[in-house]
Symmetry: C2
């Protein structure tokens, strides 16, 4: 019997590609960044709370993209925004970035290229990949997502970075241009994300949606995105559970 691709009633179409938000959904940015902040601080002789610093650095992410989404600034890739935000976060912590060797700053900036996968990500993606196209649908640039995939072993079929669509989520074109590169209708693409706002934007332009709960993305005190806040097509607590819901058997099962 051949595999029947999942067809949500919201779109009425079979899903051909399952695309994933990455930061928070597939990889644990807070742990990964904090680990490298701690090494950086030790090497440079700074007293820094590594997790708080990771949170502050991440907090500058949306405002930096907003300048681009609003048209105030021309498209600038995420590596560059991260680097600018690193300087700003250091200043907030009383460190003048001009006093720090640029190789150390550039090295720390690429910590976003080396984020660890959540424990279920590689197995879940490997299973989903057997039956569906899998890829990121992330605000990361291509080289960042490529390094992340090679470092964490993520089995993407294709990487369409935000530098390829030339825009940032949650603007409609981020989702629609990605579907266009895949030559798929929006309803043939499912976004899987840990963030309700991302799913709302994807659904508004016709994508299928899956919520993957990541209740410790922001650490033990997380208050947002603990539960689905919309009638998403699928709701899972891990990417392996999402694979189950999509009918993408276990790794031991024979590929049909």
């Amino acid at each position: 019997m051949s595999f029947q691709p999942y067809r949500p009633s919201s779109t009425g179409r079979p899903v051909r590609a399952v695309l994933f938000d990455t930061f928070g959904t597939v990889v644990d940015w807070r742990t990964g960044v904090a680990r490298e902040v701690a090494s950086f601080a030790a090497a440079q002789g700074f007293a820094l709370d590594a997790q708080a610093f990771a949170d502050h650095w991440r907090a500058l992410y949306q405002p930096a993209m907003e300048a681009i989404r609003s048209g105030q600034r021309s498209f600038t890739k995420l590596d560059t925004l991260h680097r600018e935000n690193l300087d700003e976060a250091l200043r907030q912590h009383g460190i003048n970035p001009e006093q720090v060797p640029s190789e150390a700053l550039n090295g720390l900036n690429t910590s976003w290229h080396r984020l660890p996968a959540w424990p279920d990500s590689v197995e879940g993606l490997t299973r989903i990949h057997r039956h569906f196209i899998v890829g990121p649908l992330s605000n990361g640039n291509t080289s960042l997502l490529l390094d992340m995939a090679r470092n964490a072993g993520l089995p993407w079929d294709v990487i369409i970075g935000s530098d390829m669509t030339g825009t940032y989520k949650p603007l409609p074109q981020a989702y629609l241009r990605t579907a266009e590169f895949l030559d798929l209708e929006p309803g043939e693409v499912m976004l899987a994300a840990a963030h309700n706002s991302d799913l709302h934007a994807a659904r508004a332009v016709g994508l299928a949606t899956a919520f993957v709960a990541r209740p410790t993305e922001h650490g033990p005190g997380q208050v947002a995105d603990l539960a689905p806040e919309g009638g998403w097509d699928l709701v899972a607590s891990s990417i392996t559970e999402l694979a189950d819901l999509l009918g993408a058997g276990t790794l031991l099962a024979k590929v049909p």
Copy 2:
């Protein structure tokens, strides 16, 4: 001992990514297209020489792209050019494409998405992928290259289709924009191709080069590209031999 990436004297830089021309270099377009032409002809009741038809269809490829390279026509993706060229090739063979069901034509057009790999391609790419970024550097569009990879089992890390660079080889921007998406210098990228003209264009903009001989790409009577015609950095008779030359051991060897 850690792996030392190959550093050609032509560029003086370590190679980080080995990118491949696809049609002819990684996959055998003539066999793959002819096979589907034969099925199409049988189903539609046409008397067609399938290999000659494949050659005629392919012969319209460069002229179609030339209209775009010269600026006469705005960028149009290869699937669309292939579809237009299919109509033209049918007319050359005395068949009016308007008399053929469009599903049959569209189905045949996607034969380019299902081309078989040469026997050494998957093993060679798998070995090279352990130590280098691997991807296509092809005039194919992203969805074509993605389908080809899934069908033939090509282990690409990343797919940068010509619809992402918005241009066609051998124009310089095809090579340079690809390197830019990878955040690499041109000299950190190697093009592997069975076509001397492609390698000349890549070298002119600073890429490292490898010639992979495919003496039967055009069938038994092939006259062009039988041998390297330039001082390419590497010359191989297969992608597995290219893996050897790059120092990317056998599949049995332990990954360092």
